[in-house]
Structure formats: C-alpha cells, structure tokens
C-alpha cells in the first residue's frame, strides 16, 4: 500500500513532453481561543476591528506574549505529520510596511522553525499512493485585512485577523501533478481536522495555500518557479497549477524564460497573473525578535502532546482494512473525513452489540450501506452526516434488521427514507408498513410451485439450459410476495425446483 508509484502527468508541448514540479506552503489557522501573542478573540465573523487588542494594533510599548496553546497545537501537528520536533525554536521579525500590518513586521519563525522534516502519504486514483515530504512547519502571525471596495477614496482596515496564529506547513517540491497537489492538500486538511489543530475551513480563510509551480523536461534540473499566493480551495489549487504550468510551457517553447515572480490566481477567469516580480520583492530583513525568548521544551512536553493525539487517518485506514476487512476504497472514503470515520465506528459499535456478530463479519456490508444508502439518502435531502436526522444507533438498528433477514435490502431503503423524513425507529416503520420479509420455506415453496405451473414455457427454457430465466422467476416471486420474500431463500428454492 505504501509503495510509491505515480500517475505520470505530462504536458504535451509542441517540442516534447514537460513534467511539472509543485510545492505547497499551506497556511493553517491554529484552533485557539486567543491570538498567537495576545489575548484577543479569534472568532470568525465578528464586527470589524472588534477582536483587536493593543498588542494586535501595535500600540507603543506593547509586547507579544506567546500563547502556549498555539505552541502545543503546532507540536501536535508536527507529530501528526511524522515530523521532527525542534526542542529549540525562535521567533524572527519579517519586516515590511503595509496598512494592515500594524507592527510593520510579522512575527514568524525563519531560521529555527518549531517543526522540521516529515512526510505524509497521499492516496491517488486507482489505489496508488505517494509520499510527499514536509520541509518544515513554523508558527507565525496573520496580518489584518485591507478593504478597498467599501469607500470611494479610502482603504479600510480590519485588524480582527491581525495576530491570529497560523501554522505554515511547507512541503518539499515533491508533487508532479494537479491531482497530487489536490490529494496532498486534502490529506493535510484531514490530518489537521483529526487532531483538531485547525478547522480546515478554506472558504472562511482558516486554511489557504501558496503554490509554487515550475516545469522541466524529464530528467532536467528544476526550472524557475512562480509562486501563486493565497489560493483558497482544493479545486482552485489544481486549476491554478494546470494553468500556470501550461503558461510556463508556452513561454519556454516560444524560446522565452520564466521570471521568478509572485502571481495571483483569478478564480473567475481560471488564470494566474503577475503580482510582483523578483526585483520588486521585499527585503524582509529577518532578525530574531528581541521581545520574545526562544521556545524551548523537553521530552515530557512532546510526549504529552503525542499522547493527546487521536488515532490518525492512516492508522484508522489500516485498521478498517486489516482488522475489519473493508474494501480499500470504502475505508479510504470513510477515513477521508473525521466525522464519517467516527460515525462509522459508532455505527459498528452499536451493530456488534445488537447483532452479536463479530465486526469483521459485518463491517464490509455496513460500510457499503453507509456509503451508498445513507450518503445517497442524505444527499437527496441536502443534508450531511453532521446534521443527519438518523443517528448511528438508529442506523445500526436498521442494518441489524437486514442482517438477520427481517427485511430485505430493498425494503431497508424505504425504511431509511422514512427514518430520514420522520426520525422514527426502524422497527416501528417495518411493523407499520408490513415490510417483514418472508423466509418461511413452506409458504415460499407453495408460491414457487404456483408460478412454475403458470409459466411452463419458461420452465422448459430453463431446463434446456437457458438458466438466465432464473431472474424471471425471482422477479415473479418478489412480485407475488409484494417484495417481502427473502431473495436468498427464493433463489435456493427455485434452483432446486427448476432442476426438476
């Protein structure tokens, strides 16, 4: 499973094939009540400039004080990325002027990040996996927001985000396709959500990515890269890479060269455009922030952080497949979102209790039911798992009825519809609608006899070897029983009787 393979992604140029090289810098807002260096709230959607302390607004004589929770979350995230935790790290100032940067510098970690190298395994189409290297993770402050469209001549500034803690997760340039970049971004988001260090809400800006793209001919060294800033969805990241790689190939094939520059992605047009060139690039004049002591911690702190981690998605996937025998696709889909994995585990817990059967005997069917039936029905009514009217316990009750042959799979779908609409108990629905399936061999044999008698031609066909007509007889029995016949029992009886 952990074997590195790749779906070769090639841009066919007029002069030959081009490979693309992608690295991501993901900015993830740390889940914490207060900012990285001040006590101000981090609540999303507050009135402009309502979550601003004197520190965030950089009043004279104000000093930053590190929020220990943000440090803990960064360490937990580093551990989840399988990365090296640096017991010594330090904050630097990144100096530049902008109206929404009150201090005139961003406090970041330049020379000594809190987390060093690590790696994550991403799942690609067709069950292929690829390992993406992590270069580093560091803590830094977010800036405020400049708003240019609220007043004809003024720019307005909202400092609510000023000083909010971000983790910048820098990958190695290991991705070779938009798909890999998308899978990597999703994987990081999944990991962050599992451990609760970031809510991963890209549309609210709590996660965004700077995308570095270059192209080269196979076997050549890395080309000059362009950095596309602040891309805020998985789809946009993939679109931006595709557009940018093709743009670069076009330039190179026309005999041009790539300028190292910072670019912006325009989601409306699906294009990237130049923001500033290398010549216009800032000299950030990084130096250690003299207002802060270096971060230093011991093994006990790291151990405590490690113990606080939940089961991570890779381990969960391995357990679902290895212990419960889930198909790899089902397992990967369920594990992809923390909510669905936990819901499934909850479902299994109830189901094992209710049926008395071992988990591995029923997990596969339960996963199929959840992925196709439950998700399908929820989708139809525009709901998700988090606001599902059917609890895992109710789901288990319904599945238990299927597993002990009380109702058929098709009847179960009707019951689920009802449950989603009314929230009623499945047993009540089955009773009321008379959906209990007939498994009584005597009654079914009589039914089969009657149908065979009425259809002698088809019986003859079967006996001449056209066994496909079996389906016709099953259908007739189901019709006769108004869908309540147990198909397995019906099949068995038909097989015996048709043989003659």
């Amino acid at each position: 499973m952990n074997k590195d393979m790749s779906n070769k992604y090639i841009i066919k140029g007029a002069t030959g094939d081009w490979e693309i090289v992608v690295g991501l810098e993901i900015h993830a807002q740390v889940t914490s009540n207060a900012k990285l260096f001040s006590g101000a709230s981090t609540e999303f959607g507050s009135e402009p400039n309502s979550n601003v302390s004197l520190v965030d607004a950089a009043f004279p004589g104000m000093l930053p004080v590190i929020n220990g929770e943000c440090v803990r979350q960064a360490v937990r995230t580093g551990l989840a990325l399988g990365a090296e935790i640096n017991k010594f790290s330090r904050f630097d100032r990144k100096n530049y002027f902008y109206a929404d940067l009150p201090q005139g510098y961003q406090i970041s970690q330049f020379a000594h990040p809190i987390v060093g190298e690590g790696e994550v395994v991403v799942e690609l189409e067709g069950g292929i996996t690829k390992t993406i290297g992590i270069e580093r993770l560091h803590l830094e402050q977010d800036a405020g927001k400049s708003i240019h469209d609220q007043h004809p001549s003024f720019t307005l500034v909202d400092l609510n985000r000023s000083g909010v803690a971000l983790m910048e997760i820098v990958s190695k340039p290991d991705m070779r396709s938009p798909e890999e970049a998308g899978a990597y971004l999703r994987k990081i988001r999944t990991l962050l959500r599992y451990i609760g260090s970031c809510d991963g809400n890209m549309e609210q800006g709590s996660m965004r990515a700077d995308v570095n793209v270059s192209v080269r001919r196979s076997g050549e060294p890395f080309g000059t890269r362009c950095e596309i800033k602040n891309v805020n969805s998985v789809r946009f990241v993939m679109q931006a890479i595709d557009y940018e790689a093709r743009r670069q190939v076009d330039i190179l094939e026309d005999g041009g060269t790539i300028d190292q520059e910072t670019r912006l992605f325009d989601p409306g047009k699906g294009e990237t455009r130049s923001m500033r060139s290398k010549e216009e690039a800032h000299d950030y004049r990084y130096f250690p922030d003299p207002d802060l002591l270096p971060l230093e911690f011991d093994d006990a702190f790291i151990d405590e952080a490690r113990e606080s981690l939940p089961e991570l998605p890779d381990a969960k996937l391995a357990r679902f497949v290895g212990e419960w025998g889930l198909p790899a696709y089902n397992a990967a889909t369920l594990v992809g979102e923390k909510e669905s994995a936990l819901w499934f585990e909850d479902l299994m817990g109830h189901l094992v209790k209710q049926t008395g059967k071992p988990a591995e005997a029923i997990a596969s069917r339960a996963s199929n039911w959840m992925l196709s039936d439950l998700f399908g029905h929820l989708n139809k009514v525009g709901k998700s798992l988090t606001d599902s009217p059917v609890s895992a316990e109710q789901g288990a009750k319904l599945l238990a009825l299927v597993l002990d042959d009380t109702i058929s799979g098709s009847a179960a779908k009707d019951v689920l519809d009802d449950m989603i609409e009314t929230g009623r108990d499945p047993a009540v629905i089955v009773e009321e609608k008379g959906l209990k399936q007939v498994s009584d061999t005597g009654a079914l044999e009589a039914m089969v006899d009657k149908i065979m008698e009425a259809n002698p031609a088809q019986v003859a066909q079967f006996r001449e070897g056209k066994t496909k007509v079996l389906g016709f007889f099953v259908g007739q029995v189901m019709k006769e029983s108004r869908g309540q016949a147990n198909p397995a029992v019906v099949n068995k009886i038909l097989a015996e009787k048709l043989k003659g």
């Binding site: 004279p60 004589g61 930053p64 004080v65 001549s153 207002d291």
Partner: protein, 491 residues
C-alpha cells in the same frame, strides 16, 4: 525648616510616616518648583492636578497606616513610559498627539506604591541621544552651567535628571539603552541606576532597542535609588523578557560594609583620550573603596573596544524595526496628503515629518545593517561580538564582585557643541559594554571637574546583583561626600 524640595526620598518618607509633613505639601512644593523651572525645559507635560489628587490619596494611605516607601513622593516620569490618559510623546513629533489608554508596568508599580506623578519629563526623541538635544520639544538645559553658557544635561533621560538636580522632584524614572540613565546622572551630579536587563518590565515603555532597554531610577542619593528601584522592579507576565526572581529589600543591602569585596579595575577603560581629571577621579574612587576595606583587582575586558560599534549596529537594527509601527495609520502623527497620494506616499511624508534627524539616521543605519547582503557582515558579526563582550564580564566576575569605571569620558558640554554624531556616540563609551551584557550599573557623583562640573563614577555588578552594586555605591557616596549644587539661575 528646610525647603521641602531639598528632602531626599528617604527623608521625605520618614517625615511623611511621622506625619511631620503631608504628601500634599510636599507635592505642592514640587509643583511650584516645576513651574518655577520652566527655563530648564525639563517637562513636556506638567500634571499638577493629577499630582495633587494622587497626593491626597497618599495622605489617606499615610493616615490609615497603609503607606509604602514611595507613598507621597513626587516623581517625574520620563515621557517614554506610557501613562494612562496622560499624553506620552517619547520626545517625538510623531507621538505629539498620542495619549495612551494604558499604563506602563513600571509606573503602575510606582503608583501602587503610592508615588505621585508631577509630570512627564523631556527626553531625546525615542531615547536616541546623549544630550537631550534631539527632543522635538526642545533641548533640556542642565541646571549646572559654565558661567553663562547653557550645558546639556546628557541624555536621553535629560528631563528626568534635570528635575532631580534642580530639586523639583525627589525621584524620576529613566530608561537606559546604552547609558541613558548613567550618563545624564554623571552630567548633573545625580545618582542613576540601570538595573539588570529583565529586572524592570518593559511593558508600556516606548521601545527603542528591545534587547537593551531597561528602566531605572534617577535620584539624589544611593539610598533613594535603592528605595525607588524596589518600587519599580518586578516580574511581569506581560513582558516575556522580564525575569521572575524575588525583589530583595535593596535598602537593607546598604550596610556600609564592603570589607573583603573585590573591586575590578578594567585596564581597557584607560584611554589617552580621557581627560586627566577623570583618570584622577577614578584613582580616587579606588582609594576610597580600598580604604573601606575592599580589595582592588586589575582585570581585563578584552573586547571593550568593540562595544561602541557593536552597540551602534544592534541598537539601530532593533530600532529600525521597533519604529516601523509609527506609520500614520492608527495613531500619532499623519502627514496631510494630496488627493490621489497612495499608501507609500503617506508613509514617506508621515515618517519624514514625524521623525527628527537623529531618529531617521538610526532607522537608516538599522535598515542597512539588516539588509540582504549586509546582515552577516554587520548584524550577525555584532551579535557575535556582543556574546564575546558578555563573556568578558562573566569571566571577570569569577574574580571580582563589582567593577569600577568612570561613567563618562567628559563632563557636561555646551548646548550645540557636539554636532558630529560620532563624537556624540563616544559619550557612551564607558556605559555601553554593560548594556550589551545586560548587567546592572550605577553612576554616583564623585567629584567636580576643573570647571566645577559634576563627574560620576560607575559601578557595574553581576546580573541581578543590584544589592552589591548599591552597597558599594553607598560606601563611595559617603567617601566622596559630594555636596556641590548648581546655582539656582533658572527661576
């Protein structure tokens, strides 16, 4: 009865405790003296109404027996400490209209102790200067004069020392980045103590160079310095670089007994450029301490000559970043703009108008030494030298308990005399090394120059060993018996 303004903090404290005098009377005397000394330009903002209200509170505390050592003592506050609802300018046009809605920890500690603020003292702009001539609010005049010639009081805590030397306030807060407490104390015949870096909180103190800035007291006596430091110091969770060690009773350290203490004399502080009378005073200081039973030990601080260039890289580098927040966006001065001017034009005009020449010079130097291509050659090298300079002291303190040096290479000079910035920077030559090492130092008035101007001697100590520094300073003060005072020409 002696003039109330002549009382030291210790004397005033005892009289207040005995109810011989009231805080209100003491404060009124200070206000009268302040108003009568406007010719010195020692204050940017006078706060007489607030002072009287604080004095009345102090009298209530004194009456109820709830008094602390500084209760009822009039204090001048360097205009670098943010004071809630009282304008705080840092001597700059940039902050001319700035009134903070918060209080610095050091002043909050003083007010909690019962001290009375009479006003905000003038200072070099953003504490950058050694003569108090860079203040946007005009130069401060030293109460000491040379005939009719006005002298500088030193800097950057020039207004604070002038208020002490002119018998306006009993104590004043100062801040010392490279000598801004000790050098002006030496120029005015007052006592200036720079505590160990981390001893006093920097919260609410307008930052110049964060790794060097340290608040400290300016007083007339060593005993007063001990009393006032106790009321200013302390750990503060709001300043990550403040240190959580207990505050001793500094006054108790003044035992007068320095027998057996080892006094280091660093050979590198001798210079042919130093006037003979300062060398002679240094010799005299050694004798006083030897006579009191201390042992004089010759030591070496080999990297001393690198201290001044190191300081003038590190401090401007930090300043260039610390002062970036003064951009006209949120508070303070903002230039009047033409329609259509953009953000960069606002920054440029605002900062060009808001900062004076010395501040701009240091921002430029600091920006330069941190720039790509120069960082390693300047900033990084300076940091390495800073470590070596600190190591010099650590090694020296394996052999000695304190170090004795002159405070300054010259007495107070005339207003406008030093136009060359490098000549001005040279004033810090004896004070800067201890600043780079974060160590405590005190300047004690020890004698007069041939022109009759005060000269100071400096005692440096181990980190967080202000007690020994104060103990030795107290003994030297007694031995020197410095009683000279400037003639009162300013009324």
């Amino acid at each position: 009865m002696t003039d109330l303004t002549d009382l030291t903090i210790a004397e005033a404290r005892d009289k207040l405790a005995a109810r011989e005098i009231s805080a209100r009377d003491l404060t009124k005397a200070a206000i009268d003296a302040m108003e009568g000394a406007r010719a010195l330009n020692a204050f940017v903002t006078e706060t007489p109404d607030r002072a009287l209200a604080m004095a009345d509170e102090a009298d209530k505390r004194l009456a109820s027996g709830d008094a602390q050592p500084m209760t009822g003592i009039p204090v001048a506050v360097k205009d670098l400490f943010c004071t809630k609802d009282v304008r705080t300018t840092a001597g700059s046009h940039m902050l001319e209209p700035f009134t903070p809605p918060y209080e610095s920890t050091v002043t909050a500690n003083l007010w909690a102790n019962g001290a009375v603020m009479i006003g905000k003292a003038n200072m070099d702009e953003f504490a950058m200067g050694s003569s108090n001539e860079s203040s946007y609010f005009g130069a401060v005049k030293n109460p000491w004069r040379l005939g009719d010639t006005d002298l500088v009081p030193g800097g950057s805590s020039g207004g604070s020392v002038a208020a002490i030397a002119a018998r306006i306030a009993q104590g004043a807060t100062g801040s010392d980045t490279g000598g801004s407490i000790r050098q002006p104390a030496a120029f005015t015949g007052t006592v200036g103590l720079k505590p160990t870096y981390g001893r006093c909180s920097r919260y609410g103190m307008v930052a110049f160079a964060s790794s060097l800035d340290q608040a400290g007291p300016l007083t007339r006596t060593v005993r007063d310095s001990a009393i006032m430091l106790g009321a200013m110091a302390g750990y503060d969770a709001k300043d990550s670089t403040s240190v959580d060690t207990p505050i001793p009773d500094y006054e108790k350290a003044l035992t007068g007994d320095i027998r057996g203490l080892k006094i280091g004399i660093p050979k590198e502080y001798h210079s042919d450029d130093t006037p003979k009378e300062i060398e002679a005073l240094w010799q005299q200081g050694k004798e006083w301490l030897r006579e009191a039973g201390a042992e004089i030990v010759d030591i070496s601080l080999p990297h001393t000559r690198f201290a001044l260039p190191t300081y003038y890289i590190v401090a401007p580098a930090e300043a260039s970043s610390n002062l970036a927040r003064y951009d006209g966006v949120r508070y303070g001065h903002r230039a009047t703009l033409e329609k259509g001017d953009d953000l960069n034009e606002m920054y440029e005009a605002t900062r060009a108008e808001g900062f004076g020449a010395e501040v701009i010079r240091r921002i430029m130097i600091g920006t330069y030494v941190l720039s790509a291509g120069y960082y390693d050659a300047y900033y990084l090298k300076a940091q390495k030298l800073r470590t070596l300079i600190a190591d010099d002291f650590h090694k020296a303190y394996e052999k000695v308990d304190v170090i004795l040096t002159p405070t300054t290479p010259n007495p107070a000079f005339a207003v406008g005399a030093k136009l060359d910035p490098i000549a001005m920077y040279y004033n810090d030559v004896f004070t800067v090394p201890a600043s780079l090492a974060g160590l405590p130092g005190i300047s004690v008035p020890a004698g007069l120059s041939s022109d009759g101007l005060p000269l100071g001697l400096q005692i440096l100590g181990r980190a967080f060993d202000e007690e020994t520094v104060l103990k030795v300073a107290d003994v030297m003060e007694q031995a020197a018996g410095f009683t000279a005072r400037p003639g009162v020409w300013w009324k």
